[in-house]
Amino acid sequence: MSEERIGDKLMTAREAVERFIPDGAQIALGGFTINRNPMALAREIVRQGKKDLHLVCHSHGQAMDLLVGAGCVKRIEIAYAGSGRFAPTSIRFRKAVQEGALEVEDYSNFQMSLRFLGGSLGLPFMPAKTGFETDLVKKQGFSESSRTEPKVANKKMLEMENPFDSGRDKVLLLPSLTPDVALVHAQYVGDDGTARIKGLTFADVEQARAAKTLIVSCEEIVPAEHLRQDPDQNQLPHFLVDAVVKAPYGAHPTACHFFYDYHPQHLWTYKKNAGNDRAFMDYLQEWVFGISDEHDYLEKVGISELLTIKASRITGYAPGLDRR
């Protein structure tokens, strides 16, 4: 067992964002639509007014829409922009695309997941068998000039004959993703820095391993010995984790399995305000800029509301939660 202790990796969200997220960084957002989004880190990125970010996501929701809405994002590679019933299409994303204020390149979920997998395995590209002859292949969102930038693949994807097949079997080749930064919210981090995600991991593990810098926000920091009693359940070894941010409710208003459900009341509030620019500015002022850190944020959400979404340790969600 190494004497590795979390030590100087443990820091505030402010410090992690200041140190590891420069303007223009390519960022992979962990989580999926309304589940386990790295919201505390996203709020801090907005607070620090980061600019020209290049987001890479499969299916993303609240964190992506907040960053796009706050004008932090210049370019995004994405498969699905929505938050289930609470936003069939992510509202600020939709507005930005329709106003031409955002460079978008569309892929499918499996394609984006394979691109992260390829990056996590040190492979330059990955084959895929989905989307032949669709506009995902034929139409381009990024301009030719963007294609010359370092973190942008020089081609969106390619089609190729399968050299191991005598017939006409074809594959698409997808450029791998190696993001500058991956943001992951996990339930547990050991005091040696190792992370354990409970419930569905989506593509967080591939994103985390593909990234140059990995920031993990978490609900709890626990003795490493506890996590080492069942290492099968731990996904991210400490030497891959660059920064750990203790952030209870750090995924709010999205869900965190076994800790809290998604928060319908807040998601409806977001939906109500995101529809027009003025109301959205008020939302940002009230829930991001006007708040110095996550404790104020949670005070503002209020304990009674937090209790309504308290997840059962058995089911992992809040049984009987009013979700209308």
Binding site: F32, T33, I34, N35, H58, S59, A79, Y80, A81, G82, S83, G84, R85, P88, T89, S90, R94, V97, Q98, G100, D106, S108, N109, F110, Q111, S113, L114, L117, K129, T130, G131, F132, E133, T134, D135, L136, K138, K139, G141, K170, V171, G199, L200, T201, F202, A203, E206, A255, H257, D261, Y262, A311, T315, G316, Y317, P319, G320, D322, R323, R324
Partner: protein
């Protein structure tokens, strides 16, 4: 004869298309209802799984998105996205994927990305998500649509997910190894695809809906010669849907 809403007959009609040992790839909304009611009424051995990796969950409460923690409870396996898509396309599984879209053409190809020019669209939708993957890899797909002329179009604004491409053998020639849409379930009836030409035709009209009404709501030419009337949802199907699957009417509305 019990009364029922559009969503109810859509969910139930789709549910009837499910085979005993199918593996159902459920999306959100009506497709979630269809997969769950199919399992409870028609195919108890069918397995519902979600593209996020929740496989065969208990579904005590209805998930409102494929990433809803409710897809993770009581499941036999909680995997990652990649494993879920591997199952979707697994050659030894009869996977049936439920899809929705903004537009559909006469060969069952779908658009869930934009209306207008891709680089400066009039309307932006969420995008493919797992739709293109499901349409590419599943053994069969069932598509849910509101039956309106602006949705049943001659030409898609953006081609997101593959149906039968240009008809005939064009799907297989393009590189796909299997699959293709089995049916389109709308609020007016059920449409299927001609076995040779792969062009859409009207298979069923819901009670009280005339083939003409369906033609009016379809921009492309539609063969209605084989249309029969759908058997109305029966007591048991409605009871399961309303009392067990979506008691809070979260999706039924």
């Amino acid at each position: 004869m019990a009364s029922y809403t559009d969503k109810e007959i859509m969910a139930i009609s789709a549910g009837r298309l499910i085979g005993q040992n199918d593996v159902l790839f459920a999306g959100t909304g009506v497709s979630m209802l269809a997969a769950t009611v199919a399992k409870r009424v028609h195919a108890p051995n069918a397995v519902v799984f979600f593209e996020t990796g929740g496989i065969d969950p208990s579904l005590d409460e209805l998930p409102l998105a494929v990433a809803d923690p409710r897809v993770m409870y009581g499941s036999c396996v909680n995997s990652g996205l990649i494993e879920a898509f591997a199952i979707l396309g697994h050659r030894k599984l009869r996977t049936v994927a439920f899809l929705g879209a903004a537009q559909i053409d006469s060969f069952g190809n779908l658009n869930s990305t934009v209306i207008g020019d891709y680089n400066r669209p009039k309307v932006r939708f969420p995008g493919s998500g797992g739709g293109c993957d499901a349409a590419s890899l599943a053994h069969d797909t069932i598509i849910f649509m509101q039956h309106e002329p602006r949705r049943f179009v001659n030409e898609l604004d953006y081609f997101t997910s593959p149906g039968w491409l240009r008809g005939g053998e064009s799907r297989m020639e393009a590189g796909y190894t299997r699959g293709g849409p089995m049916a389109v379930v709308t609020d007016l009836g059920v449409l299927k695809f001609h076995s040779k030409t792969k062009r859409m035709y009207l298979a069923e009209c819901y009670p009280g809906v005339s083939p003409e009404k369906i033609i009016e709501n379809t921009s492309f030419e539609l063969d209605v010669s084989q249309a029969k009337e759908t058997r109305a949802p029966d007591e048991r199907e409605l009871k399961v849907l309303r009392e067990e699957v979506d008691p809070q009417r979260l999706i039924l509305g």
